[in-house]
């Protein structure tokens, strides 16, 4: 398996609300990117993804996203799309930026 460039987290959308969620180390879900479980290698990433995909009655569209570890030791988004998903739209103060 190729080495991965970045640590990864698992993200999806909540089935009921539609909002962005992240898989935690306990196999549950959080709205906060920084609380996501981090996989440092591809095997661990696949294991986390499998945990997420086993919950089709709670979530939609789980996938792995690259993350960087911030100075506080918590994951941060790498790509701008993932950064937007942690906040919400830029034209209104709606979504996570208003709710969290």
């Amino acid at each position: 398996m190729p080495r991965q460039k970045h640590p990864q987290i698992v993200t999806a959308n909540d089935l009921f609300e539609g909002d962005v969620i992240y898989l935690t180390g306990e196999g549950g879900w959080t709205r906060v990117h920084g609380d996501a479980a981090v996989a440092d290698d591809p095997d661990e990433a696949q294991r986390l993804l499998a945990i997420a995909q086993a919950q089709p009655a709670q979530i939609v569209g789980a996938y792995l996203a690259d993350a960087a570890i911030g100075p506080d030791g918590r994951p941060q988004p790498v790509h701008f799309r993932e950064a937007f998903r942690t906040r919400g739209p830029s034209n209104y103060f709606h979504g996570k930026q208003a709710e969290l």
Binding site: L15, F16, G18, V20, G61, H79, F80, P89, H94
Partner: protein, 557 residues
Amino acid sequence: MYAYDDFDADFVRARVADFRKQVERRIDGSLTEDEFKPLRLMNGLYLQLHAYMLRVAIPYGTLNSRQMRQLAMIAERWDKGYGHFTTRQNVQFNWPKLKDVPDILDALADVEMHAIQTSGNCIRNVTADHFAGAAADEIEDPRPTAELLRQWSTDHPEFQFLPRKFKIAITGSPNDRAVTKAHDIGLRMVRNAAGEPGYEVIVGGGLGRTPMIGKTVRDFVPKVDLLPYLEAILRVYNLAGRRDNKYKARIKILVHETGTDEIKAMMEEAFAEQKAVFQAPPADLVACIEAAFAPPDFDNTQSLAFDRAQADDPVFRSFVETNVAEHRNPAYGIVSVSLKPVGGTPGDASADQMRVLADLAERYGHDELRVSHEQNIILPHVRKADIPAVHAALKKAGLATANIGLLSDIIACPGMDYCALATARSIPIAQEIATHFDALKLERDIGPLKIKISGCINACGHHHVGHIGILGLDKAGVENYQITLGGDGTETATIGERTGPGFAAEDLIPAIEAIIDTYLDLRHTGEETFLAAYRRLGPQPFKDAIYDGQRASARAA
């Protein structure tokens, strides 16, 4: 306006009831997402970046005050107090919760609306000239045909699983305001030698990854033959269109790969077969639809109020210049209400604004509203004498921006602020352009200019047909914007040409400014529009301006 008969009403209610059960089964776990997704898409429900999104059809862009008020109610009760009007004359709600969607659909059904066929590989909501029935240049109102197409295409058993989505646009005017040449099928009303109205049929236009201008496959199809002729086109496409590659599945690719003459022959052959067996819609149904679109009872009382208000109030005069178009009845005007306030989100209206628009339509506009593909709202029939009062009410509601057809009347798709397919944001770019040029106070001097922005290659923002088109891409993890110039979505439709390498967001505004400065420097007179100047000059002076400028600033840095 067309009113639902029992068949329409029962059909829409039955679909809501089905979907209610489907949502229940998804929530209780009996349906997987793979099973549920096609069902929700059939009912206009997408899952976007931050939330679900419900796309509601506004057939041929026409609605009445009661429907607009219901959209306002839905926006407040189940969403965040606003709606987004789209380039396909639909309205989108960006924040519904899954469990609420069946209730929203029932509320829509209460006012004869639905979200059917706003997604999926079927015939989508038919779009029309937003001035239909009002325009001075129109042969006939095309909406009776559009309504017939809605009824014919809704749940058409043969065309529910086409190779890809299928979009039809229709106009009754020689001045094409419906972008008919960039649709899977474009219908332009024309008269034959005997003076009878029928349709020129244009096939295989489209934007997206492979932009194409449609090809005329028939100069004239009599109205009575239109449905069997369209069935023939769709049958040829359904059988021969590619299903091996999503990006090559639209009819434009089939037309392009087959060749216009060959595809015409295939369609004519299918038409001959179809015409022989086609059961024409009953004459009383057709008559009933036509009666529903009869012109309103115009009030021809003469009044000087309109001229007086223009003479007295420069703000009103400026509004009339851009936002009021010529009506077929000289006592009336067509009022375009801009949903592009400087710095705002193109196409958004708050629930309060929707109610103001509904009130104005009811009081002054024969109870009609239109959504334009340029993401504005139209009051198609306003007595000129009432336009000053309409303008005053619009001003109070923040809806009197006098910029229709000018630089800040920008089309922008939702982009990566909402859309899961987007590769970059569109809305902030539109906001920055409008704000920047507003500060320069050049908009009126620049004159007619269409800027269109898409946040991905699918081109919902019609960037290919913008005089200045902007396409947002993801370039190695950074938002990057390509510029196209010289596009045109009217009867002289043209695909814009790419200037060259794209720009980072912060370099885009200077590039747009360089393009506009070049135009202002090189135009013959104030009368020569941007598009005319571009056609005369070609791309080079504009390329020189934006890329030389960039090199100069790189040297300086």
